[in-house]
């Protein structure tokens, strides 16, 4: 009789351990999921071997006063006129295609 009761207790004990182990294995891991860092989506940009880095933003043109702008245009016209006069005096391909020194277009 004693042996039967001991066997019964041992069976219940094993059954309880198995049930506890099963419950632990199938419990949702909410806390672990919350701790995961959020993955950022990778932008689908076309990769180029010569320019992988993002382009720097273009500088915003500074709005100069209209008088200054007109003076810049006048200086440009004067410089271009001088270059054209040099070409007319001694016409050559080099003088015609010489790069302008005017800062207005450089």
């Amino acid at each position: 009789m004693d042996m039967f009761i001991m066997g019964l207790c041992f069976t219940f004990f094993c059954l309880a351990i198995t049930a506890a182990a099963f419950a632990a294995a199938t419990r949702p891991r909410a806390s672990q999921a919350a701790a995961q860092p959020e993955l950022r989506a990778i932008e689908a940009t076309p990769t180029r071997f010569f320019a992988d880095r993002a382009k720097p933003p273009l500088p915003t043109p500074i709005a100069v006063p209209i008088e200054v702008l007109l003076q810049q245009i006048e200086n440009h016209v004067r410089l271009e006129q001088a270059a054209a006069e040099s070409f007319v005096a001694y016409p050559s391909h080099a003088l015609l295609h010489s790069k302008t020194t005017s800062p207005f277009v450089n």
Binding site: L69, L70, I73, E74, V77, A84, E85, F87, T100
Partner: protein
């Protein structure tokens, strides 16, 4: 004073031509003529300066943009001798300026009386017009070259 339009004329001939005109004064900042107006006179600059300009849209506003500055002895307003007899630029005086104004009718009547003087002046006028044409042509070609370089990216590749 040596006037480009009267080069090659004797002093007596020069005086005779100048006597056909009338002296006018334009105050500093004053207008001599405006683009589109009827060109009824041409002018020889006696003293001061004449600034030629044309209208350009700058920041959506029409502004007079510098084209050329003329000095004493030079001629302005030769549109009076060339059809359709309308000024193609505007002219102002950046400082007090004196000019001799000549009407084309008086000029041409004088040419009939003195054809040899008329021939010399016509040749000088052709030189003035030709020089302007060459200058503007050279400026236009340089500008076109720049536009082509800009559009084809040649300038970018060079750097």
């Amino acid at each position: 004073m040596v006037y480009t339009l009267l080069q090659g004329l004797s002093p007596a001939e020069t005086d005779e031509v100048l006597a056909l005109g009338s002296r006018i004064a334009v105050p500093s900042g004053g207008s001599l003529f405006r683009l589109g107006e009827s060109a009824d006179r041409l002018f020889l600059i006696e003293r001061g300066r004449i600034r030629l300009s044309f209208p350009m849209l700058v920041r959506n506003k029409e502004e007079e943009v510098f084209f050329q500055e003329m000095a004493p002895g030079e001629t302005v307003g030769w549109s009076a001798m060339v059809p359709p007899y309308r000024f193609t630029l505007s002219a102002t005086a950046p400082l007090e300026t004196e000019l001799i104004a000549l009407s084309p009718e008086t000029f041409l009547a004088f040419f009939d009386r003195a054809p040899e003087v008329g021939r010399k002046i016509s040749l000088n006028l052709a030189i003035l017009v030709g020089q302007r044409l060459q200058l503007v042509q050279a400026m236009w070609m340089r500008e076109m070259q720049r536009v082509v370089e800009l559009k084809s990216g040649q300038r970018a590749e060079a750097h």
